[in-house]
């Protein structure tokens, strides 16, 4: 069904269809509409919307609800996203699936509440202390917000990781036509199939689609943010810590193929590669179409884990790589890591609350 909806509306709709049944949130421009829609719709499907006292409470409430078996989500913007960081790390450590939507606005601090940016690309990866697995998706528009919200819920439930959806004010408040699928396939987390005495909450092989227990399921599980053993209880010994770190890393790295998602428009004749993400990719691609020069193009739908190998491969032998974005060059740093030889790296940035224009990208092509 074709409908005209905003990015925030598409996000809420997808969340509901993906089976999100608990939303804990705190209003913040430009994400508020997501909460408002969830407040209206969740009770209709028997779910719960809670406006919590702040963003810390919001992330922890969804962590709690998810630990109790209910797929859960929150939505926020920069200042709230900063406040949620400790809780996101907790979700990563305890392997509780949650979806956190960050509708980016200008920052830092209160910044530019009503204008968009891509200022949180690196924060989405590094915002919390300690090394930790995290998956981040970044749509370029409304239809993709719908699709990637579905995917965020799916990945988070399957891999037991916090998944972050990075949209921005431009996308959140923009309306486009979405062809809503009549049916959405939803993955339901599996309860353990073994007896409580046999069950190991953090077993080695708990990687993808593994069953796991939730509160109230009769498995007497213990969840802690301390470093823990496979059975969930705290430890302090180096080998177990290493084992667990390894497991967490493997969850992401063993599933790279499943997680990686790029739109690639390669051109063997091109001596320039464009690497883009999110809403600014619209301008980047428009610029590509506005010139006759052969250009290779990649857009990252999965921002983290970063597709090092793919970019390395695409960039190899090119003269230049152009990275347009709406911040001070955050994506560019990552691309820089993936280059070899003497490929020239061109950063095109705009960071003033207005959208990067195709012309600005065109100038350097």
């Amino acid at each position: 069904m074709r409908r005209l909806v905003s990015g925030n509306e598409a996000c809420a709709e997808a969340a509901l269809r993906a089976g999100i049944r608990f939303f804990g949130g705190y209003p913040i421009t430009p994400s508020t509409e997501i909460a408002e829609l969830m407040a209206e719709e969740l009770p209709r499907v028997g779910g719960v919307f809670m406006q919590m006292e702040d963003e810390i409470a919001s992330i922890m409430a969804i962590v709690g609800a998810s630990a109790a078996g209910v797929p859960s989500m929150t939505a926020t913007s920069g200042p709230g996203f900063s406040l949620m960081q400790e809780g996101i790390g907790y979700a990563a450590m305890t392997e509780i699936p949650v979806v956190v939507v960050d509708v980016m606005r200008g920052g830092p601090a209160t910044g530019l509440p009503t204008k968009g940016s891509q200022g949180d690309l690196q924060q989405a990866r590094w915002g919390t202390h300690g090394d930790h697995p995290v998956v981040v998706f970044a749509p370029r528009g409304v239809e993709e917000t719908f699709a990637l919200t579905l995917r965020a819920v799916d990945v988070s439930e399957r891999l037991r990781v916090p998944v972050i959806l990075l949209t921005d004010e431009f996308i959140g408040h923009m309306r486009e036509i979405v062809s809503f699928p009549s049916r959405v396939e939803v993955y339901h987390r599996q309860r353990p199939r073994v007896a409580s005495s046999e069950y190991v909450h953090y077993a080695e092989e708990n990687n993808y689609n593994a069953p796991y227990a939730s509160y109230g399921g009769g498995y007497a599980i213990h969840l802690t943010g301390l470093t823990h053993r496979a059975d969930g209880f705290p430890i302090n010994d180096a080998p177990t810590i290493r084992w667990n770190n390894e497991r967490l890393r493997a969850k992401i790295e063993d599933n790279l193929a499943y997680l990686e998602d790029n739109y690639i428009d390669d051109d063997p004749d091109a001596d320039t590669l464009i690497v883009a993400v999110g809403s600014s990719a619209r301008s980047a691609y428009e610029a590509k179409l506005l010139t006759d020069k052969p250009l290779a193009y990649i857009r990252l739908l999965t921002l983290w884990p970063f597709p090092d190998a793919t970019i390395h491969r695409l960039a190899r032998g090119r003269k230049r790589v152009v990275v347009p974005e709406m911040n001070d060059g955050q994506l560019c740093r990552e691309v820089q890591r993936c280059l070899s030889g003497d490929t020239e790296l061109v950063s095109v940035t705009r960071n003033d609350g207005s959208m990067l224009t195709p012309q600005e990208v065109l100038e350097v092509l």
Partner: protein, 285 residues
Amino acid sequence: MASAKASGKKHSFTPMVHTYLRMDNRFPHVWCPGCGIGILFAALIHALHELNIPKDKILLASGIGCTSRMPGYLDTDTFHVLHGRALAAATGVKLARPDMEVIVVGGDGDMLAIGGNHFIHAARRNIGITCIVLNNYNYAMTGGQQSPTTPRDMFATTAPYGTIDDPADACSLAEASGAAFVARTTTYNFVQLKRFVKTALSRKGFRLIEVVAQCPTIFGRLNRMPATKDLITWIKGHTVTLEAAKKMDADELRDKIVTGVFVDREVEEYSDRYARLIKKVRNAH
């Protein structure tokens, strides 16, 4: 000293309390000799047992601190959340699984300092949680810093010249926030402690029990009461019942631990209200 000889006849007895514990090789538990946390733990187990609450319906959640190590030992679903955040996480659990008996336990720092905001809002909403604050007057886990409840002029590692802050009163805060049940007791009075926990578990909405407890290792040592019995005596000596307190003036009450039930009223629990909302919305369709 004569060591009593063990009873000869084969005798099979399993302490009820042990059946509620994850009695594995992590015992003896981490708490110091004479620490009051274990006494509260025992009282909680007695209350759960006497009320016959099914084990697989119990969630015990906590933040971080000495007190907050409790969930690791109870053989039910347990949740060792971030420092200060247990009530927020427990709110999520309760709304996801209203059929569960959600209990949150935490220290004075965890619940009233970093967790203060969640505390007043959980109480305001009257979410169905039994919240137990173990008040040992200091941040014990981190080595004895001042907490919001450290009494005036007492010592802490971050109050080396004695505190100048007036202490927070968990019960007043819960009452002002609208909690359904509010009571205070001490680990010295096990019978009352168990009774209050039982009563709380039988009520609806947000229920607070503040339990004044001894931390001999840190708070005691910093305040010249290194032996458990000194501290227990100090607590006993400062305790007055609510009835007695009513006859005392503010000056006399300054350093007293007033025990009793401050609030006990009927409310509609938050997840019940939400269930009603869902019903209303769905019927309107």
